[in-house]
Symmetry: C2
Subunit: 424 residues, 2 copies
Amino acid sequence: MKYTELSPSALAAEYDKVLAEFEGWKAKGLKLNMARGKPGKQQLALSTELLSVLTDPADCVDEGIDARNYGELCGLPCARQFFAELLGCKSSQVFAGGNASLTLMYDTVSKAMTHGMLHSERPWCREEGLKWLCPAPGYDRHFKITESFGFELITVPMTPTGPDMDLVEELIRDPKVKGMWNVPKYSNPDGIVYSDETVRRLASMKPAAPDFLLIWDNAYCVHGFDGAYVPFADILSLCAQYGNADMVIEYASTSKITLPGAGIACFACSEANLAYLQKLMDVQLISYDKINQLRHVRFLRDKAHTLALMEKHAAILKPKFDRVVSILEREIAPLGLAEWNRPKGGYFVSVNTLPGLAKRTVALVKEAGVVMTGAGATFPYGKDPNDSNIRVAPSLPPVEELEQAMEIFCCCLKLAALEQCREQ
Amino acid sequence: MKYTELSPSALAAEYDKVLAEFEGWKAKGLKLNMARGKPGKQQLALSTELLSVLTDPADCVDEGIDARNYGELCGLPCARQFFAELLGCKSSQVFAGGNASLTLMYDTVSKAMTHGMLHSERPWCREEGLKWLCPAPGYDRHFKITESFGFELITVPMTPTGPDMDLVEELIRDPKVKGMWNVPKYSNPDGIVYSDETVRRLASMKPAAPDFLLIWDNAYCVHGFDGAYVPFADILSLCAQYGNADMVIEYASTSKITLPGAGIACFACSEANLAYLQKLMDVQLISYDKINQLRHVRFLRDKAHTLALMEKHAAILKPKFDRVVSILEREIAPLGLAEWNRPKGGYFVSVNTLPGLAKRTVALVKEAGVVMTGAGATFPYGKDPNDSNIRVAPSLPPVEELEQAMEIFCCCLKLAALEQCREQ
């Protein structure tokens, strides 16, 4: 059955039925949340040991460094080594930071504005009309950073193999294009893994701007939940192979490995970039919290042990993603109102409705007591040209609440579609 | 005995004697450190309980907020309340952050550059020739921040009651003067407590720049070690009284209350400023580490309990400061080679040698195996016009090492003075 094929009276009947269902949900006064990629309580419990792994002062000294005291701008050597193994780079390329990779990314862009990057002719704030490439749908917080600093955001459509590289290679010929956001593995929100070909084309591109910044947010580097661990290339080596050693900065964190509010983060880049940034950061801080870095290394140990922990996360997450997809398949697929991905990792199901339905659906969903990411948020300036993409974040609610939230979502999507049919 | 009063032969004899002493120290191959205000091991041990105060996941929820998860940009309400009580302001005026107040200060100036402050007509990076007031001797890391962003640093001499206010009131008539550093209690390095009159004059001043930023780094707000706790005015209320509510931002941290590398920090300002900054910071982060905030509140509890802890720090610090001063009095006072303060709080003894001796003394001290803060560091651009000020940081070494380091310091100061006499 397609709504567009219904007779006016059948359409009216279907509308009344779905509206009644919607009113029924509203009457329940539920308060559910599928807005952000927030781990649920069960996942937080996996890292309880983190809280007690470091309680003896004698344990606070690592490789001769007392983690309790000042010092070690680039982080504890063991924390740098931990991230280096995770990302496949060298520990001399890693800066171990605080609890937020987002902050490290913001600070990089901010320093480019006020001081310039290693190969900048001047601070970016002294240039006019700067632009930034934004693969979309993408991560709203990325887009907000470059929007906040006044860049013109240029949308690059995502394909199943990553950003449209023909377009990227065209756009970087403009010296005003200063950088590009990337979530190369399990992209937010599509769950796309960049293909080897895409990664190679990105690593080898020759932007007109000498200080082009390829931001490589490896937020979900070990965050698969369906199938075996998916290896990935070390983007730092790859860029170096193509003579682009200083073009890329990679970011990662344990926010979705241990505790979102109290993890540790890092960036990794060429030694030349690190030396440059270190000099700037030496003015900003003495070091990030080294006790929490040490706590993490003691708890996570190494990559193998971390991957074992990620399997426990997967066991909690996969049933939630399965429920989201199966409810969509049951309720929405027969009506042809939307398509969606079936991610094998990451934190989101990206739903693409028929054009013009996303905003109305999210508004109705909110009325019925479910908070979702705002429609359009996955596009630059929060404007989805088709009003179609909706990001579903299934991780936070327990399964039974998630099912209710998805029933409501499907009901609201139907209602939005029926409203649209009736208007036409 | 004054060196300048000695006969040439007596001078030569004294020189030989002091040089021999210096060579003796050198031969010992010591490695001692009086460079930074780093707490010693005994002090770190006072906060051992901090490491184990929060190990049960059930304890991670405070006022309904799970500190482990994302959220609460301005910090946990209980952490904001803790700092509010400490500083005497309202919790609605407090932003609770990560482990470094220095980073919060840097970020404030950085945001002023890229976005402007609440009352700015434009981002500061769009203006030319900006200036910043630097009471000196002062904190080298403060000066470095504004130097890094390209401000012209203007030295304001410190007096026993705080910065020279006649000069400050003159300088702020220049609209290019955008702000001023302050450590109002136990100033770094002089240990000066701003007088009530100085504080009132600062709070009531009318700078020509509409977006003048009075940075109030209350780094040593509860850090007395000699005598009863010294209360201080709430600078936020005081500025508000004079119609300057949005002129000031205050900073504090627990770096020298609990663990330097793993404490918590805050800034406090008018609600209007906080609303403005919060909007900018919302792009930069989701929140700082709330688990560490909660850990601190559980451990420190409140102001009274914190002051009790500070008395234990005082019991460790006071003997160290006493030793520094008594060795200076024994070795240097009779020769009239320098003067120094006798601080009742803070982390430093500020030594002012006769002109032209500071650099040479610190160089000799280094040769003999003692690291000190570089001479000149306490002045803008690292340039002390009299080459006179040396910052002694007695907190890190155990008492017996501190005594050695101070013997070496006095020996080197004598040697530098004798060299100078011989040259003249």
